[in-house]
Symmetry: C2
Subunit: 82 residues, 2 copies
């Protein structure tokens, strides 16, 4: 079965997000003053062949911990679609 | 009304995604050979105060075109929640 995976990676609470802070301040400078805190993370998509959804999920967690995210400072969630 | 906005930015079709390509090749090197094309984009979240959903959507499109994305090479979609 081929799964379409969408993964959303963002900083854990309390971790400084310099890109988000800079983006917020640039938006304010452009006159968009009704904007609250901005966070900028990663949006990773890929396809994955796996025999079952369970195996797909296990492999995605493994890949996230080993390569796709930095577990010390980042959190993630993902969605699977057939 | 305060809206919680989630925006997903990715390259347009046909635009080279070097980070995605490198990630795919790194995953292959780690033994994950059942992975198809990988794309790495941005996941931007922020809050926005607006009098109506229509105005919120208009402002978000404006901000996306002016600052949050590069309309020449990137496409985006977003979700609003109250």
């Amino acid at each position: 079965m081929q799964y379409q995976v969408k993964m959303y990676v963002s900083y854990k609470d309390g971790i400084l997000d310099p890109v988000g802070k800079t983006t917020a301040s640039a938006l304010n400078s452009l006159g968009y003053v009704n904007i609250g805190e901005v966070a900028v993370g990663k949006y990773i998509t890929f396809t994955l062949d796996a025999p079952s959804e369970e195996k797909a999920r296990a492999q995605i967690k493994d890949m996230a911990d080993k390569l796709l995210t930095n577990p010390v400072i980042e959190k993630y969630r993902f969605e699977l679609e057939v």
